[in-house]
């Protein structure tokens, strides 16, 4: 098994730099998720680990070996693609056996390995079928099987569940997680779906426009995003943001929205620069209708314009300080809009970002 290490890696296509200087290390046996919006360079990064894409500058190490010059087949990695990329003219069995055959293994060894993988993935009765005769979920199992049989040091996944329907996606997510426990292998998993990232990753790398924004555990990303991008990307529904300025009044800091219509006393001193342009961030689930359990309740009046009910809970939408905000509330706390309601922000959960750099100031 092996770690994966990036040392100041960059990647350019012609003049366009799609990955800017990047350094990080993925530990042996770790499950790391690379997440970011479409086009941010996730697949490029994965393909560089696999050796399918040349590295412009810097080095990548797998285990203790610099692999820059090694072809994919010598890197001891396996990769699972979004579109399965099964060989259409081969049966499931042949698909899984192909890589082993090329490596010159004997028929009996191949059969043993394929059958073992088929058992793990519960695909024994699909082995004679061609990809065309299988559903998307079945195909992806075969593709995972093709990766498992090789027993690689590092597994790479490029949005493997994106083509599956929601229910199947949830199920496969769980299976991949269990597979990781079972195989004890290093896994690097690319997705644009933050739910997948949060549920699967030991650690998550958030990428935007070819720049790593933050590398952290799912919980830390949620609680302590380093900047506004991460704050907005992680968590669903997305965090509420409001532009404004910080003022100091009677020993405490006060936030006043850009249009002056909303004023929030922060009830404490964070040591922010007075008159600094900031962006206030608060997640919908950190706005409450009662202050009893809150450590630092910050009260405000919301004119609710619209409500979305999801059974046990719902979302209230209201305009505040020139922005539309949402609050996640219990269904019984909501009624037919419009209505006016007193709400409380948990001050402990408030984020304040620098309006220019986007950095978290807290």
């Amino acid at each position: 098994m092996a770690s994966v290490k990036f040392n100041q890696v960059t990647k350019s296509y012609g003049k366009q730099e799609v990955i800017q200087s990047t350094s990080f290390e993925i530990q042996d046996k770790e499950f790391v998720v690379l997440v970011g919006p479409s086009g941010c360079g996730k697949s490029t990064m994965l393909r560089m680990i696999a050796g399918l894409e040349e590295i412009t500058t810097g080095t990548i190490e797998i285990g203790d070996t610099v692999v820059n010059k090694l072809p994919p087949k010598d890197r001891d990695i396996a990769i699972v693609f979004q579109n399965y990329a099964l060989y259409p003219h081969m049966t499931a069995y042949e698909n899984m056996a192909f890589g082993l055959k090329i490596r010159g293994m004997s028929k009996s060894v191949i059969e043993e390995k394929v059958m073992k993988a088929a058992k793990i993935l519960d695909i024994e009765d699909l082995l004679d079928r061609k990809p065309k005769a299988m559903s998307g979920g079945q195909r992806q199992r075969i593709a995972i099987g093709r990766a498992i049989v090789r027993n690689p040091k590092v597994f790479l996944f490029d949005e493997p569940l994106s083509n599956l329907d929601a229910k199947l996606r949830g199920q496969m997510r769980l299976e991949i997680s269990l597979l990781h426990k079972k195989l004890q292998a290093t896994m690097v998993y690319v997705t644009h779906d933050q739910v997948e990232a949060m549920t699967l990753g030991d650690r998550i790398i958030v990428l935007n426009k070819g720049v790593i924004q933050q590398i952290d555990t799912p919980q830390n990303l949620y609680n302590h995003p380093t900047n506004q991008f991460v704050a907005g990307f992680i968590g669903s529904p997305t965090m509420n943001f409001m532009k404004g300025k910080i003022y100091q009044e009677d020993e405490i800091e006060v936030f006043i929205s850009e249009d002056q219509s909303f004023r929030l006393s922060l009830n404490t001193v964070y040591g922010l620069n007075p008159y600094q342009n900031v962006i206030l961030g608060i997640r919908p689930e950190h706005i409450f209708s009662s202050q009893t359990l809150l450590k630092n309740p910050l009260q405000f009046q919301a004119e609710v314009r619209w409500v979305e009910l999801l059974g046990h809970e719902g979302f209230a939408f209201f305009d505040l300080g020139g922005q539309q905000l949402s609050a996640r509330l219990r269904a019984d706390e909501l009624k037919d809009p419009p209505f006016s309601k007193k709400l409380y922000i948990e001050g402990e959960r408030l984020h304040i970002f620098d309006a220019d750099t986007g950095l978290n100031l807290m």
Binding site: A50, L52, P71, P72, F81, H89, I102, R146
Partner: protein
């Protein structure tokens, strides 16, 4: 009413088919008819004879020519399939400087009428000392712009990730082309194969220019020379017999590969 329409439809189709088939049929019948009766244009042979065929075999090395033609057409077809798909693969899936320029140059050569390249090609053959060798027929035909174009288009439809998967599995480029991609572009392979074989088989002009030795001639060349060159002594029957022999392989191939002929022409959207 609908029945009538159907009958009419098939009637017209039958007439059309007969219009195309009749000349072939007549050619075969006439080649089996004694010389003095050929002019009658009858539907059944008036007196069956194989004399024309035995005359032909006596007068010209037709079997040798058949062998030459088969050899040339088979090797050229094989070459075009192999080298055409290799070139098409490079143009579709590899990244290198000047790729588009190369591609457009290849396309450009397709627009040149062969009359323009005929003389330069001949001079090259002379310089290579390949005149009067089969190499002059085979080597220039080992790749073709048309095949490259068709293969490139076929490879473009194949997702990159399939190739990536093959690379991770341990395939090199050649294995990727022949073991992974070929099975997935069968219609293009068959189209190119059939068209290349037919083009090579039917070519008269180029062999006429580079081959003068009778034993090295291809069938169409030999038959053409025989028919127009006076050695058939104006015997229509013998000429027709050689024409039948010339058409036969293509007809046989068509009968067996009919499905593929039609399928591949339709699927490639290219008319020969």
């Amino acid at each position: 009413m609908r029945r009538l329409k159907k009958i009419l439809f098939y009637f017209i189709l039958t007439i059309a088919a007969l219009t195309f088939l009749y000349p072939f049929y007549w050619m075969i019948v006439a080649s089996l008819t004694p010389e003095e009766n050929i002019g009658n244009l009858s539907l059944v042979p008036q007196g069956l004879t194989f004399d024309h065929y035995s005359d032909m075999v006596e007068k010209i090395p037709i079997w040798r020519a058949l062998f030459n033609s088969l050899l040339v057409a088979t090797i050229s077809t094989f070459g075009v399939l192999v080298f055409g798909s290799m070139t098409g693969y490079a143009l579709a899936k590899m990244r290198f400087k000047g790729r588009n320029l190369l591609f457009f140059t290849i396309i450009f050569t397709m627009t040149l009428p062969f009359q323009i390249t005929l003389i330069p090609n001949y001079i090259i053959m002379v310089n290579f000392k390949w005149v009067d060798t089969l190499a002059a027929l085979i080597v220039p035909a080992l790749n073709s712009a048309f095949a490259i174009l068709l293969f490139r288009q076929a490879f473009l439809t194949i997702p990159d990730d399939l190739i990536h998967a093959a690379r991770v599995d341990g395939c090199g480029d050649l294995r990727i082309i022949f073991q992974i991609l070929w099975p997935n572009i069968l219609p293009s392979l068959i189209t190119v194969g059939i068209l290349t074989f037919m083009t090579s088989w039917n070519d008269v002009l180029w062999p006429l220019i580079v081959i003068r030795q009778e034993e090295l001639m291809t069938m169409p060349q030999l038959v053409t020379l025989f028919a127009v060159g006076g050695r058939s002594e104006a015997q229509l029957g013998v000429k027709l017999a050689s024409a039948v022999l010339l058409a036969l392989p293509i007809i046989i191939a068509y009968i067996f590969l009919q499905k593929y002929f039609i399928q591949s022409m339709a699927s490639s959207g290219i008319k020969a």
